[in-house]
């Protein structure tokens, strides 16, 4: 009696779950076909690759990295396991989990090299090839990662600093939207290295109206600010609002792209964007592992492969805008 009722419950549960799965499979059709990595045209998966990042949930930038990784995985019939956690210890744990589940390859961001070193070593000890991407350009070799794909943040910052200096900018404001990010600090430090008048400012990146008011307040407080450097496309859009509210004539420069920022470059509201091409980072990390596993290739020959800085300005925006709309640039 007890057993049968429990069995019936199980049966009901199972059928509900199946129904749920079927429904979700149906509803994810259409435009979502790019989402599932191992799709119908693959008969079986070639390899399983784990991608682990320090993504803060809901950032358009990471979405592009993921889109690139998924596109690569789909092309080569790879099963892609994506996971992310912004906290170093949790990210290390995710890498360890990938090692434990004996994946064929691991692609990870190396944002906090010291915290991730142990897990990276566990992967290489287990004979699992691991590539770094997005961050950790100075550390990937020491940690034992095979290859590295990404931008040199300091170099990118310096390029911005140089370009601003050549335009006669004296006092740029570098806006950091996430507290304590090594990569964002490195960018601003790079800007400051080539334009000593640079001042940093911290804003709350999860609240647009707070970002607008804060930058607006800063522009009012210090009218000598003649350029704003934002480190993410959505923040650049907020900065535009602050500038018009504060009647500021400052130049606006940003890192990264989204549709709105690309449009603003086209309209001449943003001078230029420094693109590290996140789509390429995700795509290359997965592809490199595939080529290594399949063919023993070593892309970059031990040196880092740079995906940026690539400048997007009035001269090339017409070509890039459609890709931005496609969420790949």
């Amino acid at each position: 009696m007890n057993l049968t009722s429990r069995r019936r419950l199980l049966l009901v549960g199972a059928s509900v779950a199946t129904l749920g799965l079927t429904l979700s499979a149906c509803s994810s059709g259409g435009a979502q076909s790019t989402k599932s990595a191992s799709s119908a045209d693959c008969k079986s998966n070639t390899y399983t690759i784990a991608m682990i990042t320090h993504e803060a949930p809901g950032d358009t930038f990471w979405d592009k990295i993921r889109a690139g990784a998924q596109a690569a995985a789909k092309n080569e019939c790879i099963k892609l396991n994506y996971s992310a956690d912004p906290q170093a210890d949790k990210q290390a744990q995710l890498i360890q989990t990938a090692v434990d589940s004996k994946v064929d390859g691991i692609a990870t961001t190396l944002v906090t090299p010291d915290a991730l070193a142990g897990s990276v070593k566990a992967a290489t000890d287990a004979g699992i090839p691991l590539v770094g991407f997005n961050s950790g350009i100075d550390a990937y070799k020491k940690l034992g990662a095979l290859e590295y794909f990404g931008s040199d943040e300091t170099l990118a910052g310096q390029t911005v600093g140089e370009r601003l200096t050549s335009q006669g900018v004296k006092h740029p404001l570098c806006v950091i939207q996430a507290a304590g990010s090594v990569a964002l600090e490195a960018r601003c430090a790079g800007v400051k290295a080539k334009n000593p008048g640079t001042e940093n400012m911290q804003v709350n990146g999860t609240d647009d109206s707070a970002v607008v008011s804060s930058i607006q307040a800063k522009l009012t407080q210090d009218p000598s600010i003649d350029a704003i450097v934002t480190l993410g496309a959505p923040i650049a859009m907020d900065a535009l609002k602050s500038m018009s509210a504060a009647n500021s004539k400052a130049k606006l420069v940003t890192f990264d792209l989204n549709v709105d920022a690309a449009q603003a470059i086209k309209d001449g509201k943003i001078e230029f964007s420094v693109d590290q091409q996140p789509y390429v980072q995700g795509y290359m990390a997965v592809t490199a592992l595939y080529l290594y596993l399949k063919n023993g290739n070593d892309i970059g020959g031990g040196g880092p492969v740079l995906t940026g800085p690539s400048f997007v300005d009035k001269s090339n925006i017409a070509k890039i805008l459609p890709f931005a709309k496609n969420n790949t640039r």
Binding site: S27, S28, A31, Q32, T34, K35, A56, P57, G58, D59, T60, W62, D63, A179, M201, Q202, V203, N204, T206, D207, D208, S209, A210, S213, S214, Q216, A217, K218, T220, Q221, D222, P234, M237, D238, K241, A245, N258, V259, D260, N327
Partner: protein, 354 residues
């Protein structure tokens, strides 16, 4: 004697001849917003002195705008806390409200006004569910709304990604119904060369309504009663469940309101936004003299709390200080405000006896 304090919000009846009549200083000290008002004046003067750019009317209205985006939701969060409950889902619900409107209208090609109403119904349903679950299960609202916080945070990302293929909502500025709804929620007007955002006006209106409800209506008495002691409130016939569910729905209504503002001011929303703002609403309420345990606080205090928040967050920038320290200031201010509230409350109770 404790009876005297807990009965504070109840309006004195005319025939209370046996009551101790209070001097004006005692009355002032007994107000929950008194400490906050003093703090606000001190902070205001402080920034006036050290930050020249803070002194212009433009700057003051920037501060008021910043305060209003926190303050509007804080009005409801304050009332909810007076009613003895918490809502940790309020921060992400603001983003949910905007996302529901944008995604619904964009992908079904429906006029934005309809989308806004759908979003309103959706938010009220979440508020109802929060309240219903708290009342039905007896689980503390802290836990129930922590749950809905996570559910909404995940759904914001998951659903947005599923529907739009990206983690931000599509740009809705070219859709039908945009301009009337945008000029209502995200409009501004110029008075004497100063830009005033509509949200500032709405904020004042909501504070006034909240003050009226709390102090001039039966429902207001009920709110203090359920926050003070739900069991005895029920015993004297207060519909505890309805009052509390109503308060949760008020929070979700005002979260929706601010969500509409963010969507229509920025035309698009990032799905990860809003996290952490729930604490700012609670901080505004607490700094404004609302008691964490319920039953004590008022609307003006919560408004002053939000104003202090806006003033500090931007004052630091106006002063040219390193805003990295802002959260530290906020924390210190929070603790100071609570200490001051406690001190003044003791002072007023002690004096009354003598």
């Amino acid at each position: 004697m404790s009876q005297e304090t807990s009965a504070a919000p109840a309006v004195t009846t005319s025939d209370a001849s046996n009551r101790v009549s209070l001097t004006w200083s005692n009355r002032l000290l007994r107000r929950p917003d008194f400490a906050a008002a003093v703090a606000a004046v001190i902070i205001l003067l402080f920034f006036f002195v050290i930050a020249p750019s803070f002194r212009s009317p433009d700057s003051i209205f920037t501060v008021l705008y910043q305060s209003s985006t926190i303050g509007i939701v804080a009005v409801a969060v304050g009332m909810l806390m007076i009613g003895g409950e918490f809502d940790l889902s309020a921060g992400v619900m603001v983003t949910t409200a905007g996302l529901v409107n944008a995604l619904f209208s964009y992908y079904l090609g429906v006029n934005l006004i309809v989308g806004a109403l759908v979003s309103l119904v959706f938010c009220l349903a979440i508020g109802f569910l929060n309240g219903y679950l708290v009342m039905r299960t007896g689980i503390p609202s802290f836990l129930i709304t922590l749950g809905s916080f996570f559910v909404l945070q995940g759904a914001n990302l998951g659903v947005t990604k599923l529907v739009s293929g990206a983690v931000s909502s599509p740009d809705i500025s070219k859709m039908g119904g945009f301009s009337p709804i945008s000029s209502f929620f995200a409009g501004s007007f110029v008075v004497g060369g100063v830009t005033v955002w509509n949200t500032v006006i709405f904020w004042i209106v909501f504070v006034a309504i909240s003050g009226w409800i709390l102090h001039r209506t039966k429902v207001g008495n009920w709110i203090y009663a359920v926050g003070g002691n739900a069991a005895s409130a029920r015993a004297v016939g207060v519909p505890v469940r309805r009052v509390k569910i109503g308060l949760f729905m008020t929070v979700s209504f005002l979260a929706w309101f601010v969500g509409m503002h963010s969507l229509y001011r920025f035309n698009t929303l990032q799905a990860g936004n809003g996290v952490g703002n729930e604490f700012l609403y609670i901080i505004a309420a607490v700094v404004g003299g609302t008691l964490m345990t319920g039953g004590y606080g008022n609307a003006l205090g919560v408004a002053i709390g939000a104003f202090i928040f806006g003033m500090t967050s931007l004052g630091i920038v106006f002063a040219g200080w390193d805003p990295n320290w802002f959260r530290t200031f906020l924390g210190v201010m929070l603790v100071l405000a609570v200490l001051m509230n406690l001190y003044i409350k003791r002072l007023s109770t002690a004096r009354k006896v003598g």
